[in-house]
Symmetry: C2
Subunit: 371 residues, 2 copies
């Protein structure tokens, strides 16, 4: 059911195709985050129209509410939220650490307290797989421990052994399920040798794809880029690589340049809901007073629903007045921009001019427009 084919490279950047039961994904790809079975403020049809190929759901959140068993009884996540294209779920490993209350990690798994009602729960590798089987996403993740940053080398090394043991148990629990692709997650903090050990051990387990976790958690950007470049030289070329939780438009370009195929991040939607959107000219604070009478769309060259129909002045007014339509219009624009950015990056790879493309856009793409 799952095949990855590498179509072209440009430097270390890769253009590929990943086939899933819900259709083909052209890579590199950016996945909007639909935490609790909804990409905030948007309908599935809007997501489709703005070019989202695949979205992400959060296992931790869906487990707590409405519950994976309920979603399974209602036909799985695709049917529940009426999204026909591919879905990826994370394993809950990151959220149990970052969101929940009292957390206790043992070799068996993680005991944690719900951030919603304080109830106690236990995630084990087997449980994380069971939940993700019930949700039914196309691509699912092994249960991992994501060490905090900073952490001692000894902590990260210990944690890595746990994560590798859990990866084996996830592989085992996943069994011969061939309708969902289970990815292993590379950990090891900012330590090159641990990262290498992690990648090599996962490769032994023959996962159909590899995630890179534990980055974008507070380390220097240079550490992130070094680790990603290192892994690019280790991970197999014939399987997709997914850099979890990254990032700004510039981060996407820099990591595509280092062989990454898949990304997810709340940034475009979260920032949009606060009135800050991404454009080819940089970040635009659309709720700023300077746009009060600006009849131009957010981005004059943009073909998204928002830019085809509404002025900066109107969107700014919606934010000023607390009207939810403002959040929607800004979210549509920013996700459309991310989809377009990554499509253009792909085209540049196919035409072997990715470095030029990056050089052209990197200088301003993450900067805030001041004019």
């Amino acid at each position: 059911m799952f095949t990855y084919s590498l179509e072209a490279t440009s430097g270390h950047a890769r253009a590929g195709r990943f086939t899933t039961p819900h259709g083909e994904i052209l890579t590199p790809v950016f996945m909007p985050v639909g935490t609790v079975a909804s990409v905030k403020t948007l309908s599935p049809h809007e997501l489709q129209d703005l070019g989202a190929q695949i979205i992400l759901g959060n296992t931790y959140h869906l487990f707590l509410r409405p519950g994976h068993e309920l979603i399974e009884r209602l036909g799985g996540l695709h049917r529940f939220m009426n999204w026909q294209r591919p879905i990826l779920t994370d394993s809950g490993g990151f959220q149990v650490m970052s969101l929940s209350g009292l957390t206790r990690i043992t070799p068996e798994g993680v005991r944690f307290q719900s951030h919603i009602d304080g109830s106690y729960h236990m995630f084990t590798p087997e449980r994380a797989i069971e939940i993700q089987h019930a949700l039914g996403a196309d691509i699912i993740m092994a249960f991992d421990e994501c060490p905090p940053y900073p952490a001692t080398r000894a902590y990260v090394a210990d944690s890595l052994q746990t994560t590798l043991d859990w990866a084996r148990r996830c592989r085992e629990a996943h069994g011969d399920n061939d309708t969902q692709a289970l990815f292993g997650i590379v950990q090891g903090g900012v330590h090159d040798d641990l990262r290498e050990e992690s990648a090599l051990a996962l490769m032994q387990m023959d996962f159909p794809g590899h995630s890179i976790g534990g980055l974008a958690v507070g380390e220097d950007k240079s550490d992130m880029l070094r680790i990603v470049a290192l892994l690019d030289g280790i991970l197999p070329v014939d399987k997709p690589r997914y850099l979890m939780g990254v990032g700004t438009p510039g981060d996407l370009l820099r990591n595509i340049a280092r062989g990454v195929d898949m990304f997810d991040c709340v940034m475009p939607t979260r920032n949009a809901r606060k009135g800050s959107v991404f454009t080819w000219q940089g970040r635009l604070i659309v709720k700023a007073a300077r746009y009060k009478e600006d009849t131009r769309p957010i981005d004059e060259g943009c073909s998204c629903y928002t830019c085809r129909n509404f002025s900066r002045a109107y969107i700014r007014h919606l934010f000023q007045s607390g009207e939810l339509l403002g959040m929607r219009l800004a979210s549509i624009h920013s996700l459309h921009f991310y989809a377009e950015l990554i499509n253009m990056a792909r085209q540049a790879i196919l035409e072997d001019r990715f470095e030029e493309f990056t050089r052209e856009h990197l200088p301003r793409i993450d900067e805030t427009i001041k004019e």
Copy 2:
């Protein structure tokens, strides 16, 4: 630019057409409320798709934010919010009383304090017309005083004289503007003689349509229905009648039966945002626990976007999780229902079976579904 034609009657119920510069309105009609140039959570294209023929904007709110002059500079309200169909604005009379702080009514006008920043402003009849000219709605309202309920007869009688004087001043200020239709507003509380006096005085001023204000403000429903029936016998048959701020689906049917052509109310959208929607079977509390695993749409016979695509279980989950998409989907359904209800009522009038139609639906249409 404005012509009303009465196409058919069934009992006292009327089916007509009202032509405006932005197109023809089939009456009876329900107007969704877009307070600050946005029908909350919805895009103009969604409103069009769900069958909204005309929407309402609030002069008081738009005056305070973003300001009528800004909207005028940006090309008027239609262009500002990208809505191509007709718009009606109220005069701000109701909101200065109900929303603002310290209010002082004099023969000259009303001095009031903004509910947003406490700043002081003065609305006079001339000012209300000036603001509405700047906004550029197709149908605009004379500035009136809407007396509170209950109020003494003496207060209501005095207030009515002020409102009639203001109506004359609005007529004068409107001048020969023929791109906007100015309606006079009948006041007079629950007093038949004052209502009659009000209607007759306005008819002398030859407005192209009449609004009925000061109802649905706390009086008994029987008083409302009696006053509307009384006015049906007085107001000219060749001009549209607009009952302001009404109401439930049952209220619509009862007042169509008494000769009303136009309605507006925040109820379908406000209730929807709280998880309560209207259906042909009654009100459905879609966020109720009993719908947790209900795979049916809100209304099985409904053709709206929400019912074509999503289950009660999913919408309930969105409300439980505080996801804004829930409010949107519920708003779409309820406004679609209001549009369909009034279209079906119109059809029943054309076929002279409106009383049967009402008899069939009134018993349950305002009741809450308990099953």
